[in-house]
Symmetry: C2
Subunit: 320 residues, 2 copies
């Protein structure tokens, strides 16, 4: 395969001139530019992108860390990131971690390596300390409340939004409220939990540890929740479900079991995924595609550290 030298020779110019043509720099005469273009065509020249990357110290790749890629939450997020990347001629390197810390470190190392220009971490298991060490190597942006930290982030104030949801349920007459969550650790989960605990305290409600269902990620996890629910002696009357998928699963399962929604159990979803509309699930809208887009822009604007809060919106439908 021909390289820039060959093209230069063929066109009777220097490699510098070829490079100038290649990159649309000025100060090349029309004739020489033409000669170069002709030579490139003749030998089917293709620029070796790795040489460009080495030379420029830039790859036009952005790493995206997600635990799973087949989950609608991350799917939508990736969608937003991917579409923003598309318009900026960046490509995404998908790093699926399955929540293994090792994989997250690998992603961070890619940044250190200069294999990617920036890194977007959609969800993590690793310590902030681990990340901090890598901030010097390039922009890292988080999808969580990192206002206290020296990296950019786009986030939902989950404390606030959980409080809103809890108050809403409380106003509707519920005092036995539980919630379903993916994993218990994680910045977002912790914020939610403290909102929950504070809500109980402020309203003098008692804490039931079995009102908290963890491990809820997908539609099918709704089955587990309902199975547990029916076996409970003291049941909650309302459930905050941090994913519409899970809420939909719970709904479906409850119908089978003859549990009426919202009479027997009120359900409040999160995200406002399309499925929640179809199933008339009351939910808290989080514009994930927009979050994704913002994350990408922050990754691009690596110099500036910004913290963007995304407002959520309560969407009333028929499950509360």
């Amino acid at each position: 395969m021909a390289n820039i030298k060959d093209v230069a020779k063929m066109a009777g110019v220097s490699v510098t001139t070829v490079s100038r043509v290649l990159n649309d720099y000025p100060y090349v005469s029309a004739e020489k530019a033409e000669a170069v273009r002709k030579a490139m065509e003749e030998c089917n020249y293709q620029r070796n992108i790795n040489a460009v990357h080495l030379s420029k110290g830039k790859t036009f790749l952005v790493g995206v860390v997600v635990p799973f890629s087949n989950h609608p939450y991350f799917g939508l997020l990736i969608d937003g990131i991917a579409n923003a990347a598309l318009t900026h001629n960046y490509k995404l390197v998908l790093i699926q971690t399955n929540y293994e810390e090792e994989k997250e470190i690998e992603a961070l190392t890619m940044l250190k390596n200069k294999q990617i220009d920036a890194l977007i971490i959609c969800s993590r298991i690793c310590d902030w300390k681990a990340i901090k060490d890598f901030t010097q190597y390039g922009p890292i942006v988080l999808c969580e409340d990192a206002r206290e930290k020296e990296v950019s982030c786009t986030f939902v104030d989950h404390y606030k939004s959980f409080s809103i949801a809890l108050d809403y349920l409380h106003k509707k007459g519920h005092s036995r409220i539980g919630y379903c969550i993916g994993r218990k650790s994680g910045t977002n989960s912790k914020q939610r939990h403290s909102a929950y605990v504070n809500f109980l305290k402020e309203n003098s409600l008692s804490f039931h540890s079995d009102f908290i269902f963890s491990g809820c990620f997908n539609f099918e996890d709704g089955v587990k929740v309902v199975t547990e629910f029916v076996q409970m002696k003291e049941r909650p009357t309302a459930l905050l479900v941090t994913s519409d998928q899970v809420a939909a699963g719970i709904l479906t399962c409850c119908k089978e079991q003859g549990i009426f929604i919202p009479e027997d159990l009120a359900i409040m979803g999160f995200d406002n995924q399309p499925i929640s509309k179809v199933m008339h699930i009351t939910t808290l809208e989080i514009p994930l595609v927009e979050v994704g887009r913002k994350l990408f822009h922050q990754a691009m604007d690596g110099e500036r550290v910004t913290h963007e809060e995304i407002p959520v919106k309560l969407i009333e439908r028929e499950t509360v």
Copy 2:
């Protein structure tokens, strides 16, 4: 930042020796190896991966072309690819095309550029001709029946599987069968359609163009189908739905409309996604994660062109 030269100088050896240590080559004395390791640590040396890529002509990146990443079908496929990639120390470059041909060409160009070592195309809109021109630049593998073509593929024989499903419905007494599909063009869709047409012919059944519902990708698309369905004068009694998501949407919507499944309408899904189990949808299992894994392995084994057919399995549940 220190480079290999600096390390060599610090350790009092040549760059070659450093390179040998870096790559675990034999023929380095223990003392020198130790000196190199110490030097690397001292200056926090990090190998510039782009230089490696340039030198090796290899990037350990595999491109994955998908139209959307937030769809469970592609989610599962990506999952399989990603996990296989993980174990082989490859990373994925996600190219979300939204079915724009231009983006597909861009992905192919990345292969030509040597920016990726191989390309997996999960679904495409572009012509085979367009792809053919790029096969010379590296392994391209397709997720469709490409037995006639000189690229590797992992595929489901959609003609066969559609026939199986149609026969099953027919044996259950249905003669007014329709189907729901994502897009009408596309290799898979065409295979399915011809299976459908042949089935009708062989059983002397008449063709109703309105029994075919296209644009069915997601859960929410089920709504459209049901809306159309209830307005039909002559309704099908069974529907083959090429995605469990859509089948689930149809099911949910039918329940609302008082349409009984399977009495009023039999539904047969595809993929055997978790949702189909929860909702007891009879479906045709396609092991997408395994398909993904195979696609990756074929991409790795670029030399050999193989065509792997994936068998499907009918899973009887309660919607037929």
